[in-house]
Symmetry: C2
Subunit: 224 residues, 2 copies
Amino acid sequence: MPEATVARLPLYLRALTTLAERGVATVSSEELAASAGVNSAKLRKDLSYLGSYGTRGVGYEVDFLRHQITREIGLTQDWAVVIVGIGNLGHALANYGGFASRGFRIAALVDADLSRVGEEVAGLKVRHADELEQIVQDLGIAIGVVATPARAAQLVCDRLVAAGVTSILNFAPAIVQVPEGVDLRKVDLSTELQILAYHEQRKNGAALALTAEQAAELAEAVNG
Amino acid sequence: MPEATVARLPLYLRALTTLAERGVATVSSEELAASAGVNSAKLRKDLSYLGSYGTRGVGYEVDFLRHQITREIGLTQDWAVVIVGIGNLGHALANYGGFASRGFRIAALVDADLSRVGEEVAGLKVRHADELEQIVQDLGIAIGVVATPARAAQLVCDRLVAAGVTSILNFAPAIVQVPEGVDLRKVDLSTELQILAYHEQRKNGAALALTAEQAAELAEAVNG
DNA sequence: AGACGCTTGTGAACGTGTGCACAAAGTTGC
DNA sequence: GCAACTTTGTGCACACGTTCACAAGCGTCT
Ligand SMILES: NC(=O)c1ccc[n+]([C@@H]2O[C@H](COP(=O)([O-])OP(=O)(O)OC[C@H]3O[C@@H](n4cnc5c(N)ncnc54)[C@H](O)[C@@H]3O)[C@@H](O)[C@H]2O)c1
Ligand SMILES: NC(=O)c1ccc[n+]([C@@H]2O[C@H](COP(=O)([O-])OP(=O)(O)OC[C@H]3O[C@@H](n4cnc5c(N)ncnc54)[C@H](O)[C@@H]3O)[C@@H](O)[C@H]2O)c1
């Protein structure tokens, strides 16, 4: 299955869940594509990787398709997650209710700062970073979330990997190396804003260019 | 400039900043690529879109290249940002110091909940959503960050656009439509986790498949 | 039952992105 | 001033992703 398709399955899943809540029983690729904000041909091709679950002339059965995607992504089981670094962001993540409803359970919170250890956040006691290996093994944790400062990110990832974690979501703005077999994804807010700024500048730049062109025309008019 | 290149420029910028702080004056494409975690040919092709700023046989001058990328992204000016939805995540974002150092200034905080309005967060008073248009125009805000619940996201984006915002970063897990000319990027943590879960499952699935194969072999051995 | 209309699933064309490999261009050492 | 060495910038081939367009298949209505 293409990586681009995998990245869109959660999108479809969310759209299907919304439809199911509204009591919709079947949906065409055109409608579902509109809900998910993608091209309908792309949607059909994506879904075709799961199998032929549609009915020609009718569409897709919402509940059935939802189940198939859930199974494909691997959300039939709950995944235990550890969050490392319980600062600003770590607190927000720990308190966020949206993970549980999507198949993820925050199983442990870890920080290196002794003044933070023992604090109760979202019903969990913050534990010390040195206990990481024990925690990961005891709770069967496969996914780690890194919300420490950038300078600690590589060390924390190394420890997570050593403890047996094979999937990491990194929020720290740092380039981290992990051994093969370990999946690393990053969420980088500053980068996102910078990409927006680039396009924003070009929008304004286009306006400036137009002005320059107008200026040239003006100059020509005056000189001609 | 290719979109993929634009998305990597912030990465290079960060790597260059780190090098500059370490006092490195020049860097080869090989070294810089390693710092940024990309292929060196890709890095050189990306940089070639900015112009021919390298010196053959030597490499790139760190400070100069940093300045060129900063200019290209449009970070020579500071961008004013408004955050809408000052809950868990909004607080974390408002308190985050990493934006200011990268050319973004949190200029205003907005919420619809009257019990939140007036609260002081990160040195700013939370203002009411109805004032949005006024705020955006007075402060010359071009970028909006949406950290409201999903159900409010479309409404908030519509209001932001109506107020004159032309770039939006959305944290709510919702598909949002914006008119042409407005850039919308989304950060979706659940999706990221789900992508990790998919690969995680396949890792385990590979192990299970092996077991199944072994089982088949065993059955064959018993029957044969 | 058969014709009609609708929607899926997919072949094929196209566009974008990646990475190799090397000529061109610079530096360093003698 | 020249040869040897280093590193950039880029042409080219390939891989990946997207979109069009349509035959095949299903349900419905007469
Ligand atoms: N807060 C945000 O909204 C935001 C936005 C974008 C990016 N980030 C990034 O997310 C990360 C966390 O941000 P934050 O605002 O929560 O920072 P923070 O300073 O509030 O929290 C960091 C936490 O990590 C802990 N920590 C430090 N070293 C550790 C280690 N080796 N092991 C375990 N824990 C350790 C600290 O004790 C602290 O509690 C940073 O890298 C930041 O750049 C945050
Ligand atoms: N907290 C997290 O770590 C986290 C993680 C992933 C995604 N998210 C998403 O980010 C968003 C915010 O999450 P949160 O945990 O901060 O939620 P929250 O409920 O704590 O905060 C939401 C805030 O938005 C305000 N709001 C609601 N409607 C509004 C409107 N129309 N205009 C202006 N403000 C409005 C509310 O008053 C509240 O203060 C949610 O969509 C959530 O799914 C949060």
